[in-house]
């Protein structure tokens, strides 16, 4: 019957084309390609509904002890795999409903925009993955059933909303390219298969799904560029074969797959989109987006749009502002005592850290609360500070200005002082000509400093160069380390590529914080949790949820060779110690009681040589080129000669 209907449909279609007087030689139009891709998606949505129904029935039986755990696991895996076939467009169309209801991380969250703390417990396939493949599925059977039922209800909504939603050509290409990113950064790292570790099989399915969708466009690409069409086709073949052949999670060579399949396809699909003259999202948006879909490589500097993150606007005066910001960064005039500057705790030669566990406070005796973080690539974040308390880079400085342990002053004082310098007045006038009223103001000082920080960007380490095929070789230990980082050692499930920080791919709109259970000291006989409550004490009402206690921003591991000591309290002096901490399962794994630890407390079972490979990899992420210079001289203050002998960078 279905076939008959299809035939009738086709007849009708031909008839309508005929009647409409279309005389095209090639009946296979772009519209037809989209229709094929759309139909595939609709079929995937139907299959997913069936898979979830089956999962629900199995969970019911399991709850009544009428199905085995193997039955349940099979149904779960089937539902997940079917989800993976539709994931690229489901996510593209409505990423929030996927995250909230279908496949979000298995962590509680706080309901946004309500004037109360309301904890939303995680639901969806990832939570189920942990439970169904956990140690006690039988005891959790009622909860499993409840979660599958919620999944079923919510999926019905999602399907209802998305089934007939009109797609566009760019949706297909853009969602496919985002899915390539997702497969590499989240799928293959095991991010969303915490229990089943079924990552490679899932990658097979999502990869084939995008291959099928794009193949609907192959005849059209071929018309424009035969070689390109052939390359795209071959890359999909290569990728499919690769994923079919290398099915072991631990030995899967992620670096090879990235260079062989993911990056070339990421580029060629963009070329195909351009060859077909299909519009690209970034060119349609009136504002910058975090991810730049015009980028050709997951490790190219332009993958993330700094305009989006910087929040300072696109201005022809940027360079002047950044240069002025650099002077301010090294000028101790910003502190109450005229003795310390930003660079006091952020040394350019240490990737803008200071080698201290925690920096000495302005009183010269006490220490400030947390370890000085690197400022390189700091801009690529949704929120700043270890506790995420500040959403804008430009406003980060105000916390330092006011803290009694840091600059211990306020902007009224700073502006007053800066006004005594003709050079500064001139530099501010030149950099901020369009705002006479705010030329030398709290805003302009903050903005100039932010512009300097924005310039501190690094995507040119040996690892980046090798991934972009700019150098031919990297040491084998680095390659092994990369694969461990992105695989067995699970580092990449929190330190996401390509920033290797908590900025979450593939949209890069959010920052993650993690509860690791970092101890107060290295004293293994008297282990105790560091008392710093982290995000819980950010001062933001919405962070007052118990699971944000001791939760800290996931910082980048780029340039980590230069940034010892490590962790928010600087407790570890070497990367070996850090990796030993993770290898043991963090604080909880070491026997400390850590409520809500987000790091699995099970040991990673990394050998000494594996740890050494991981360190080789991280050391190969070093790049501070062009970022280490220091101003030779600071501006003079006429009429305040006593200020003119202050040292560049301050006395501390």
């Amino acid at each position: 019957m279905k076939q008959l209907m299809g035939l009738i449909y086709l007849l009708g279609l031909l008839l309508s084309i005929h009647l409409l007087g279309f005389t095209s030689q090639n009946p296979y139009t772009a519209a037809e390609a989209l229709r094929v891709a759309n139909k595939q998606f609709q079929n995937q949505l139907i299959s997913l509904e069936e898979a979830i129904d089956h999962y629900y029935h199995t969970a019911e039986l399991f709850n009544d002890s009428k199905a085995t755990i193997d039955d349940l696991r099979a149904a779960h895996l089937q539902a997940r795999l079917t989800f993976k076939g539709a994931e690229f467009l489901l996510e593209y169309n409505d990423r929030q409903s996927v995250k909230k209801y279908l496949n979000g991380p298995p962590l509680p969250s706080v309901e946004p925009k309500v004037p109360e703390i309301r904890v939303i417990e995680a639901v969806g396939l990832q939570v189920l993955d942990e439970l169904v493949f956990g140690n006690t599925p039988k005891e959790e059977r009622a909860k499993i059933l409840d979660l599958v039922q919620q999944l079923k209800h919510e999926y019905a909504e999602v399907k209802k909303y998305q089934y007939s939603q009109p797609l566009q050509h760019r949706f297909i290409f853009e969602s496919a390219r985002l899915e390539l990113n997702r497969i590499f950064t989240l799928g293959l790292t095991g991010f969303d298969t915490p229990g089943s570790v079924n990552a490679i099989y899932e990658a097979q399915v999502s990869f084939k799904a995008i291959a099928n969708a794009i193949r609907a466009y192959l005849p059209l690409i071929e018309e424009k560029d035969k070689a390109l069409a052939k390359q795209v086709d071959q890359l999909f073949n290569t990728g499919t074969h690769y994923l079919d052949k290398h099915i072991d999670f631990e030995t899967f060579n992620r670096l090879e797959f990235l260079k062989l399949v993911i990056n070339p396809l990421f580029a060629q699909l963009l070329h195909a989109q351009k060859a077909l003259e299909i519009e690209i999202e970034n060119t349609l948006e009136t504002r910058p987006m975090a991810i730049n879909l015009m980028a050709e490589n997951l490790f190219s500097e332009d993958l993330l749009d700094v305009q989006y993150f910087s929040n300072v606007g696109d201005t022809p005066n940027f360079k002047k502002r950044a240069d002025l910001g650099k002077l301010l960064f090294f000028d101790p005039i910003l502190s109450s005592t005229n003795t310390r500057s930003c660079s006091s705790c952020h040394h350019p030669d240490k990737a803008f850290t200071d080698g201290m566990d925690r920096s000495i406070a302005i009183d010269g005796e006490s220490k400030i609360k947390r370890n000085a973080p690197s400022l390189i690539n700091a801009v690529y974040a949704e929120h700043y500070f270890y506790d995420l308390r500040e959403p804008q880079l430009e406003r980060q400085i105000k916390h330092v200005v006011r803290d009694s342990k840091e600059f211990n002053t306020d902007f009224l004082e700073i502006i007053e002082k800066l006004q005594h310098s003709e050079t500064y007045r001139k530099l501010f006038a030149e950099a901020y000509p369009e705002y006479p009223q705010y030329q030398l103001s709290k805003w302009s000082v903050s903005n100039a400093l932010a512009c300097y920080i924005i310039e501190l960007r690094s995507f040119d380490s040996p690892v980046d160069q090798y991934i972009r095929n700019e150098i031919e070789e990297i040491p084998l230990s680095v390659e092994r380390g990369f694969n461990l980082f992105m695989g067995k050692a699970s580092c990449g499930t929190c330190h996401f590529a390509p920033t290797f920080s908590g900025t979450v791919p593939p949209y890069y709109l959010e920052n993650e914080t993690e509860v690791l259970g970092v101890p107060a000291t290295t004293d293994t006989l008297n282990l105790s949790l560091d008392t710093d409550q982290g995000r819980y004490t950010s001062g933001k009402p919405e962070d007052e949820a118990p699971f944000y206690r001791h939760s800290f921003k996931t910082v980048s591991v780029r340039n980590t060779a230069l940034t010892a000591p490590y962790m928010h309290n600087g407790v570890y002096n070497s990367l070996e110690e850090v990796l030993d901490f993770y290898n043991k399962g963090g604080g909880a794994g070491m026997g400390i009681e850590v409520p809500y630890q987000t790091l699995p407390d099970t040991p990673l079972d990394l050998s000494e040589s594996e740890i050494s490979d991981l360190i080789s990899f991280m050391e190969a992420l070093t790049d501070t080129t062009g970022m280490t210079s220091v101003p030779r001289k600071l501006p003079d203050f006429e009429g305040k000669p006593e200020w003119n002998n202050r040292t560049v960078g301050g006395d501390y």
């Binding site: 004037p115 705010y438 009402p541």
Partner: protein, 630 residues
């Protein structure tokens, strides 16, 4: 058989029509005679002027916490805007801006706050000028923090408020409901914790959160039953608080209206009744009726109960116990529950009260307990839940993604829905592709009104609390909160009747909109600045949109499509939209023939971001029109 074939044939026609999905060339040649028509988009009558930048502009402060009067950086997170007309006509009037914060500040005072200033209109340029003032307390300057600390005690999270349409009296609402002293100090649930650094030098600083003074508070007020009462400090939060915008100081907390997480309210035309909205689930619809018009210290407080004979149930407002625990009283009398009530406004032409219910994805568990204790659902929610296949809105599966706009008619005492947000549909299946919705109203929050051509329009401001289910459409990267006008003379309005005002900073959350009495401007706050907007739009700020006096009913409305046979475009300079005579895929090219944008399945092109110049609009079937944007 023939019949089947024919209908399938028509079906495929439809599919073709919807799914045209032409690919438009990145570059086109524009030979002589290629363009069938040139259409002019005159300059927008609307223009923007920035007036007050939070965190950067300085306010004059009173002696506070032992600090002398002086200056401080204004607080941020601008939300509500109060406008108090100047009856003397020496100026336009006084503006008061809410700060939805709980900062610590030695000079402004801890918690939330307000900034007040006086404005006049430049007779030549028409621009707004912030005037120099000297207040009775000796403060001189342009911007003044409203003194709460030395008058009625600190406030917290000043979000919405009330502007009296009668005389411009202003109340500020304290939204963030607090339940212990620990929860106001440093904003914590538990005991005070160690801070990142002590901040002794904080004139104007605004980093640490919370209210440091948690000593018991003794009320001094002219409201019967409350004067001299000593309460734990946290119970002095969450009121409607009247302020004097002229002298930049608070007058009283309305203890007699109950202690709730208020968001909005409005004063009836006879100056007798105050209607109140509460941002919570459940939210109860409340009113206060003054014994004497204009004196809101004495009267009766009521909560709405749709199934009671008189619809309103009085709660004894001389009993502090009942006022401090208002919600419990409302539940006890079985009041009617709503889902996050936001702003309230009144149509001065009819006296009908309008209010927003912003919605909440999963309200079920939030009002299930109260339902069990006797509170009731509004029949609208009940029916809506049933239509969606659930027994009750208290079901965990009940969803309310988009919210809606309600009206309350004081004549009939009825609440009814004016405009459902959405797209909201009850069918099991997705709508057909051809019918797929393109218009959305999501999470309406800010609400006020403006008179245009003698006709009342609602000013509706979105505050998205999510992006799912079309609140941010597929293929759109950045979320946008929009501001709409709705003509209240339209009977049974639909989403298509919303008129989007594009003269707002892209991507910022807009709130607080209030019209100036001369009908020329709307003052608006940009509360949550959007990323990548240049200064000052990366700060919370108050700005004006001028030119509403140039607007008429006709130039706001969509064009009547005259010639259905021929593709035509209709520019509307006010809304900055070019309307198309039919739904199409179109590409927009610049004067050099380079493609700028492609829009699909649309009959509207928003050109608000287009610099002045010549453009070409090409449709999927190759028709090209020239558009001159001035």
């Amino acid at each position: 058989m023939k019949k089947v074939l024919l209908s399938i044939y028509f079906l495929s026609m439809v599919v073709l029509a919807v799914n045209a999905q032409t690919i438009f060339s990145e570059e086109i040649q524009i030979p002589e005679g290629y363009v069938t028509e040139t259409v002019l988009m005159p300059p927008s009558p609307l223009s923007m002027q920035v007036i007050f930048v939070g965190g950067v502009d300085l306010v004059q402060t009173t002696p506070t916490y032992g600090y002398e009067a002086g200056i401080a950086y204004a607080k941020e997170w601008h939300d509500f805007i109060g406008f108090t007309p100047d009856e003397t006509e020496e100026s336009l009037g006084w503006v008061s801006v809410n700060h939805e914060t709980i900062y610590q500040d030695n000079r402004i005072g801890d918690g939330g706050g307000m900034t007040a200033f006086r404005i006049e209109r430049d007779p030549i340029t028409g621009l707004i000028n912030v005037m120099d003032q000297e207040l009775e307390d000796g403060r001189k300057g342009k911007f003044f923090n409203v003194d709460f600390v030395n008058t009625v005690g600190e406030t917290g999270m000043n979000c919405g408020g009330i502007v009296s349409v009668v005389d411009g009296r202003i109340w500020s609402a304290e939204e963030w409901f607090r339940s212990s002293n620990a929860s106001i100090y440093d904003g914590r649930f538990d005991a005070p914790v160690q801070n990142a650094g002590d901040f002794p030098k904080s004139p104007g600083g605004s980093e640490n959160q919370g209210v440091r003074d948690t000593a018991d508070f003794t009320i001094s007020t002219d409201i019967p039953g409350f004067d001299g009462l000593t309460i734990p400090k946290y119970e002095n939060f969450n009121y409607m608080v009247e302020i004097d915008p002229r002298q930049a100081k608070a007058i009283r907390k309305q203890y007699n209206w109950g202690r709730q997480g208020f968001e909005g309210g409005t004063v009836s035309l006879d100056n007798k009744t105050i209607y109140l909205g509460v941002d919570a689930t459940p939210a109860f619809w409340c009113k206060f009726e003054a014994d004497t018009p204009g004196d809101f210290t004495q009267g009766t407080t009521y909560v709405y109960k749709h199934d009671a004979p008189e619809k309103w149930v009085a709660v004894d407002n001389t009993d502090p116990e009942k006022m401090l625990n208002f919600k419990a009283e409302a539940v006890a009398v079985g009041a009617t529950m709503y889902n996050r009530v936001e702003w309230v406004t009144i149509d001065p032409n009819t006296g009908i009260v309008y209010w927003t219910e912003t919605g909440r994805d999963s309200p079920g568990s939030r009002w299930a307990d109260e339902e069990a204790e006797g509170a009731v659902h509004d029949p609208y929610h009940l029916q809506r839940a049933i239509d969606k296949g659930w027994d009750t809105p208290s079901s965990d599966d009940y969803r309310d993604y988009y919210g809606r706009i309600w009206a309350y008619n004081p004549e009939t005492n009825e609440n009814y829905v004016v405009l459902e947000g959405g797209p909201d549909w009850d069918e099991e299946e997705s709508p057909a592709e051809v019918d797929y919705f393109s218009k959305h109203l999501s999470n309406p929050d800010g609400l006020s009104h403006i008179i245009i051509d003698g006709q009342t329009f609602l000013i509706i401001q979105e505050d998205l609390n999510g992006s799912s289910y079309g609140r941010v459409p597929a293929g759109v990267g950045n979320r946008t909160c929009e501001m709409f006008l709705l003509d209240l003379s339209i009977e049974n309005p639909t989403l298509n009747d919303l008129i989007r005002i594009s003269a707002v900073p892209a991507g910022a959350e807009v709130t607080g909109a209030v019209a100036t009495p001369d009908g020329v401007s709307i003052l608006v706050n940009s509360q949550h600045p959007s990323s990548a907007n240049p200064f000052p739009f990366n700060h919370s700020l108050t700005y004006a949109i001028h030119g509403f006096d140039q607007i008429t009913l006709t130039n706001l409305s969509e064009p009547e499509i005259m010639n259905e046979d021929e593709f035509t475009i209709y520019p509307n300079p006010t809304t900055r939209v070019v309307y198309l005579s039919e739904v199409k895929d179109v590409a927009i090219y610049n004067a050099a023939g380079q493609r700028l944008a492609v829009l699909r399945n649309t009959n509207e092109i928003d050109v608000s971001n287009f610099p002045a110049g010549a453009y070409y609009i090409q449709t999927e079937d190759g028709t090209t029109k020239k558009l001159i944007v001035e």
